[in-house]
């Protein structure tokens, strides 16, 4: 035989033998999972996408969030009941400093007012009234002297057609009158309303601020109102939060955490160059003061209760990221120090925080590995490692899970149904913090009628969607609040499935069936397009179901699935749609301003359905200004009722998250006595099954629990 022929035949055989023999060196799934004691000490989570940036003030995606939450820790977080609890802050106090200018139009001078208030505080006749409550709440009163200041500010000149407006420098002088400062025991949004009872009607609103402002340049009197609002607001609420920080907490590199880190984190967020997506969260902060090594005082510009929750954001280590550190890094990399910012730092790929897990390694699009932080102040976690594996395909994720190579993955409802009956797994479900809805563009004439919106909702059998599309992994929802909180009014009944009733409502609104069975009003058929974004199978299914259901009552519905960015850019942000299927994922905080307030209906804003309701507007503002939990709940329930009645959305369902874990994963409590107690993993009331993640452990055999537990 020819050598060439031999080579030609032998070479591929050899190569295949070489490649295939490697099979014998690969550990099987069994060897990896069951026969490997080390595997019990690590938790491997799978995800479709990789993290982007591991920095608590910069990340904006879910994958990064998962890792950041393990590596960093905020001042506070929420406990099992969704109430705030201290983390890096041991405790906190909230009080208020309120200011108002003495209104000389109304008469009394500063001294008199001070006396008036103090006297009234002493009188018992106000007891029981809301004014009395406000007065009792005043802990101190102080008169600030009048002062004069000069300001120079840049404004944009009048816009001439398309050209960019010119920048003009304005010199203004402000002669502010005497001001009174009230220190309150708790935040009181009705303070000034109540004080008007004492000081005279319109005492605050009639304050002639413009009188005290002079603009040196002429021709700018039109700006007066704006300037007055800026420099001399007649009243000002300044809520103050004092955080008492936990002592002796160490970053993963051993450095101790203190108030400087909190200040640094705050300043980094507010630094425009960092492009932090959290900037608007902290915009209401007037200033932040370090009051000692373990005490931070945050003073806010105005009443804004959601601002408190933002302190759950992870705290950065100042010593690794301050100016000197960044300069050093820039030098080492040979980059220009002036241009080198927090965004460019390697820190974002190997973060250092104070959380229960410390960063070890990140291989892009492969995995992120974390190690247990043994010095964690609350006690070290049970798992030695936490790994985040990127597996972009759901089917291969599923197969890796069965093989035991990953511990949790993005399990889908139909899989939960199957795996729930399997002895090897335990499954969990609980309500999530998001809901899916059909939103109607209320600027369109056909949707401006409440009855029409209601009828459209009644024509859809939501229970059927929940049963068959969601495999019962969802619950109905009637309003925009998180269902498991008190803000949600559980007494509101969802719309019934009633196509007949829907037709009746539509008939009332003027839509009648014609000869073909199609709905018509004044000769015009009821036709619109329902859109949703691509890449979401559930929404796609709902799209088909809604189209089908509405067709049945004679509505001609076209559907369209649009790619996400186009969906936003061309339809949602511009308000160019009839109806859409979309979901909101909510924070626990009940602030609904951006989605429901009537001022947020412009292009690019989130009230894209164009919901406008004066009563709702009022409540929305009150909710975000209220620091008292019970009152907030009251306002929220009222708002919920209004929205449920108006039906700007057909609220479909709040999905349940589902998770499947190996049954061998349990909660292990180590008692101080050294005794170990095993408990089954149960979701908390709010549906968080991984709340005690730090106590999880994987046993080598299926656990047996005592009956009492």
């Amino acid at each position: 035989m020819m050598l060439v022929k031999r080579i030609l035949i032998l070479l591929p055989v050899l190569i295949f033998v070489l490649l295939l023999q490697s099979f014998f060196w690969v550990p099987t799934y069994d060897e990896q999972a069951k026969g490997n004691p080390e595997r019990l000490e690590e938790f491997i989570a799978a995800s479709i996408g990789d993290a982007r940036i591991l920095n608590p003030i910069l990340h904006a995606d879910a994958s990064s969030g998962t890792i950041v939450d393990k590596v960093f820790e905020g001042l506070i977080d929420r406990d099992e009941e969704l109430r705030f609890r201290g983390r890096l802050a041991e405790s906190w106090d909230i009080y208020e400093e309120a200011y108002f200018y003495v209104n000389d139009v109304m008469g009394p001078v500063a001294g008199q007012i001070e006396k008036l208030i103090m006297d009234a505080k002493g009188q018992s006749s106000y007891n029981g009234s809301s004014l009395g409550e406000s007065l009792q709440n005043i802990k101190a009163i102080e008169v600030l002297p009048a002062e004069t200041q000069a300001e120079e500010l840049q404004v944009s000149g009048p816009a001439v057609e398309d050209l960019k407006p010119e920048q003009i420098t304005l010199n203004i002088s402000i002669r502010s009158p005497e001001r009174i400062k009230l220190t309150l025991g708790r935040v009181d949004q009705e303070l000034f309303e109540n004080l008007e009872e004492l000081l005279g009607k319109e005492y605050f609103s009639s304050f002639p601020a413009e009188k005290y402002i002079d603009i040196v340049q002429s021709g700018h009197s039109g700006r007066m109102a704006e300037l007055a609002q800026k420099y001399l607001p007649s009243v000002e609420h300044n809520p103050v939060i004092i955080f008492n920080l936990r002592k002796g907490v160490k970053f993963h590199d051993g450095e101790e955490f203190d108030s400087g880190d909190v200040r640094f984190t705050f300043e980094s967020v507010m630094d425009v160059a960092n492009l932090s997506p959290r900037m608007s969260d902290f915009e209401p902060v007037k200033r932040l003061e370090e009051a000692g090594r373990y005490k931070v005082r945050v003073i806010y510009k105005r009443l804004y209760s959601p601002a408190f929750g933002t302190w759950g954001m992870g705290i950065l280590p100042e010593h690794l990221l301050n100016k000197e550190a960044l300069e050093k890094e820039a030098m080492a990399k040979g980059e220009e120090p002036g241009k080198f910012g927090l965004r460019d730092s390697d820190f974002n790929r190997k973060p250092v925080g104070t959380g229960p897990f410390a960063f070890r390694e990140w291989k892009s699009d492969q995995y992120i590995m974390l190690d247990r932080h043994d010095d964690y102040w609350e006690g070290a976690a049970n798992y030695k490692n936490y790994t985040y594996r990127v597996v972009p395909d759901l089917l291969t994720q599923e197969m890796e899970f069965y093989g035991g190579a990953i511990d949790s993955y993005g399990v889908q409802p139909h899989q939960v149904e199957r795996l729930g009956n399997d002895d090897a797994y335990q499954s969990f479900s609980g309500l999530s913090f998001g809901y899916t809805y059909i939103g109607y563009n209320m600027r369109r004439e056909m949707f401006s009628d409440k009855r029409v919106r209601k009828a459209l909702g009644m024509a859809i059998d939501v229970d059927k969607i929940i049963k068959y599309v969601m495999y019962n992994e969802a619950e109905r929802i009637t309003g925009p609040f998180v269902k498991q909180t008190d803000y949600y009014d559980a007494s509101i009944v969802p719309l019934p499935y009633d196509p007949e009733g829907a037709l009746k409502l539509l008939a009332e609104a003027g839509w009648k069936r014609n000869g073909d069975g199609r709905l018509e009003k004044e000769g015009k058929p009821f036709a619109f397009t329902l859109i949703t974004n691509g890449g979401n199978d559930l929404r796609k299914s709902i799209l088909a179901i809604a189209q089908d259901a509405w067709k049945k009552i004679g509505i001609d519905v076209k559907t369209d699935i649009v790619e996400w960015t186009v969906f936003l850019g061309k339809h949602v942000n511009t308000g160019n749609f009839d109806a859409l299927i979309l979901g909101w994922s909510m924070g626990i905080d009940p602030d609904l301003y951006q989605i429901w307030h009537s001022s947020q209906t412009n292009p690019q804003q989130l009230n894209f359905v164009g919901f406008e309701n004066a009563e709702a507007d009022d409540l929305i503002v009150k909710i975000r200004q209220e620091y008292d939990y019970d009152r907030q709940v009251q306002y929220c329930n009222k708002l919920h009722n209004i929205i449920a009645d108006e039906q700007p959305y057909t609220f479909l369902y709040v999905g349940k998250w589902t998770a499947v874990l190996d049954k061998k994963i349990v909660i292990l409590d180590r008692m101080p006595s050294g005794e170990e107690k095993i408990a089954k993993i149960e979701p908390t009331r709010t549906g968080n099954y991984s709340f005690y993640f730090n106590k999880w452990v994987k046993l080598s055999d299926n656990p047996v629990f005592d009956m009492e537990q």
């Binding site: 059927k464 691509g534 199978d537």
Partner: protein, 387 residues
């Protein structure tokens, strides 16, 4: 004998040659069992697709591929429906679900029938576009290739292109100005051309408009080179992902990214045909370029085009399936075999038929196209024929 008569005579002679060539090709083709079975499946698929279109189209189709029956989800093939849960008008036509149902209780048989038509349409239209562009570009390059483009041609082209770009980036004012400038430029050159050639008047200022630049052939072929430099699937993916998802965009984009091969061999074919006696004779007779190209040259060059079209349709069906897998395929309400397959793969452990039915169907049909195309190639290739 008038020119026309001779023309017809020649044409009929050509036809006679065609017929004998056809029977010769068929003789070779029919011996190739694989190609024959490919052709059989090809014809069967074509008929299924057409009947699929008639059965699933219209307001109340016999087979409704979009009918959702939530209670009937994930049923095995050949199961019958639940009499209690399914309303009479929702019942499947045969009383059973031939191919089972998907996660929304839609009849897979109906979806496959519709999908056959839609997939075929996607393939045909995409390949049609690419062939049309290929013939035009290749024809120009092959026939008029020696012609040197004047500066004004390039200038006009550039200005109109810029106007289009401005329009696309929403600078309507600029687009309008550019458009007008282009029109003026075009009119000027046409007017000047008229005077220049008819009157012999020479205006030196405008002479630069007539600077000869590159030849039409190299202009087109360089453009082909440029297009060949894009990674095709990645380019399709980019464009489809950025454009709004609809079936037309997919067909157009697949078509617009696959014409280069056709252009190349039409050009090569034309270059050799140009030099052949019958074309030279036709030209001497004063027959217009148009009828030379369309009546004499294209019929002679069409055989390899047919082969590549057959294989191209197969490729387009596969490309569509790949796009569906990545989430950028033909969006609902149209079912294609690609999106039935990629929707079904989530249920591979719960309802394997959702994966296997479309997967194997695609395999069989694409295979038949390929085998048919290959058989065609062998039958039409004179070099192979001699042996």
């Amino acid at each position: 004998m008038s020119v026309k008569d001779r023309d017809i005579k020649e044409l009929s002679e050509g036809l006679a040659g065609e017929v004998s060539r056809f029977s010769e090709a068929w003789g070779i083709f029919s011996k190739n069992k694989l190609a024959l079975s490919g052709l059989a499946i090809f014809i069967a698929f074509f008929m299924i697709a057409v009947s699929g279109f008639f059965l699933t189209a219209g307001e109340e189709p016999l087979l409704d591929p979009a009918k959702v029956r939530l209670s009937e989800k994930l049923l095995r093939p050949f199961t019958s429906f639940d009499v209690e849960m399914v309303r009479p008008e929702d019942r499947p036509v045969f009383g059973i679900y031939l191919f089972g149902t998907d996660d929304l209780g839609r009849d897979i048989f109906a979806r496959m029938m519709q999908g056959a038509w839609v997939s075929l349409t996607v393939g045909f239209v995409a390949v049609g576009i690419s062939i049309a562009i290929g013939i035009i570009m290749g024809g120009i390059a092959g026939y008029y290739g020696m012609y040197r483009m004047k500066f004004m041609h390039l200038l006009c082209m550039f200005i109109f292109l810029a106007s289009g770009i401005m329009y696309a980036s929403a600078e309507n004012g600029g687009a309008f100005i550019m458009f007008m400038a282009g029109t003026v430029c075009l009119l000027l050159s046409v007017g000047y051309y008229f005077f220049y050639t008819r009157r012999g008047a020479d205006i030196p200022v405008f002479r630069f408009m007539f600077f000869e630049t590159i030849t039409a052939d190299s202009f087109i072929m360089r453009f082909v080179d440029i297009m060949l430099c894009f990674p095709t699937f990645f380019l399709i993916l980019t464009v489809i992902a950025l454009l709004p998802a609809n079936i037309y965009n997919i067909m157009i984009v697949i078509g617009l990214t696959s014409w280069m091969g056709t252009t190349r061999f039409i050009r090569a074919e034309f270059l050799s045909l140009r030099e052949q006696d019958f074309v030279a004779a036709a030209r001497v007779m004063g027959i217009s370029d148009f009828s030379i190209i369309f009546r004499h040259m294209i019929p002679n060059a069409i055989a390899p085009v047919l082969v590549s079209a057959t294989i191209g349709i197969a490729g387009a069906i596969l490309t569509e399936a790949g796009l569906s897998f990545l989430g950028f395929g033909v969006p609902p309400p149209h079912a294609t075999w690609g999106n039935v397959l990629s929707d079904g793969k989530r249920f591979i452990f719960d309802a394997p038929w959702l994966t296997f039915i479309p997967g194997i169907s695609i395999l069989v049909v694409v295979l038949s196209f390929n085998l048919f195309g290959e058989g065609l190639r062998e039958a039409l290739n004179p070099k192979l024929r001699k042996r």
